[in-house]
């Protein structure tokens, strides 16, 4: 069962941490946090219009999307376009597919202690999707450069991680 209430989730996390400290050898790599279920999170409103504007996103360009179990919204902006969503596939399921030829880059990371993945699908790897563990789902932050005939250098993964770190404390 996946806890759905934040208080219950914190009890489960605390108990999990206590149990993991008993009878197991200390590891150099901390276990990722166990997280509550984020399947009810509305990714279209998780950032305010002021926060979106501060990122260079045009709030009025918001378009809802529901495609292949990815539910969320996308926006245009400068210097990048943004997509926020929750994905029916978990981070663990993506990690199991890390050798999938669809990914032109793939690496595991953490977002404020939650396990995550950064991946690209474009041949020039200018796009970056940051996935965050959301229990039974993953939460996605996708960044790609806005089109320009004279594009400026953009580290899409750094931007996606920065936005993911803004969002993560708001997840259950």
């Amino acid at each position: 069962m996946t806890p759905s209430h934040p208080a219950l989730a914190s009890v489960v996390v605390t108990a999990g941490l206590l149990l993991s400290g008993c009878g197991s050898a200390a590891s150099d790599t901390p276990d990722p946090l166990r997280v509550a279920d984020a399947s009810g999170v509305d990714m279209c409103t998780i950032l305010t219009e002021a926060e979106l504007s501060a990122l260079g996103i045009e709030p009025d360009t918001r378009k809802p999307m529901n495609l292949l179990d990815v539910i969320g919204c996308r926006w245009r902006g400068d210097p990048f376009r943004l997509r926020l969503g929750r994905d029916g596939a978990t981070v663990a399921e993506y990690i199991a597919r890390r050798e999938d030829p669809a990914f032109t880059s793939f690496r595991e990371n953490t977002v404020n202690g939650r396990s995550g993945v950064q991946l690209s699908v474009q041949s020039d790897r200018t796009d970056c999707t940051q996935l965050i563990d959301g229990g039974s789902v993953s939460v996605e932050v996708s960044v790609a450069p806005a089109f320009s005939l004279e594009p400026r250098p953009l580290d899409s993964c750094a931007e996606a991680l920065r936005i993911a770190e803004m969002i993560e404390p708001r997840l259950p």
């Binding site: 996308r74 669809a102 996708s142 089109f147």
Partner: protein, 129 residues
């Protein structure tokens, strides 16, 4: 065997070549447009570039989400689909570049006409003085 996206890329290259010839004619002052008409055409191109951004966002999800089996057939299908996905994304981005260049050309053609009008008016004023 070339994919349908490879054919689209070839068509785009042909359009880009035609556009380069039009741009050369504009730059040489041989081709111009009424400034309002040129701006309307350029604005429609700008809109098309933005619409392609939306297509790109959907295509990225499609490319990322597709899963195939771990058997030999599944892996071959995954490789073919991944290749097609990348080509589709590349094609959309190339189309954006071609259309954005067209917008630039329309605006340049509009400037040429406006400059020609201005030069003509100055000449008339000069004659009248």
């Amino acid at each position: 065997m070339s994919s349908s996206f490879a054919q689209s890329q070839a068509q785009l290259a042909g359009i880009a070549q035609q556009h380069a010839e039009l741009r050369a004619a504009v730059d040489a002052g041989e081709l111009w447009m009424d400034a309002d008409v040129a701006e309307r055409a350029a604005t429609r191109c700008d809109q098309a570039v933005k619409e392609l951004d939306d297509w790109l966002a959907g295509a990225e999800v499609l490319t990322r989400k597709r899963k195939f089996g771990t058997n030999e057939d599944g892996e071959a299908a995954a490789e073919a689909f991944a290749q097609a996905g990348r080509e589709y994304l590349d094609t959309l981005k190339n189309a954006q570049r071609v259309i954005a260049n067209m917008a630039e050309t329309f605006r340049a053609a509009g400037r040429t006409a406006a400059q020609a009008d201005e030069a003509g008016q100055q000449m008339i004023r000069g004659t009248g003085e």
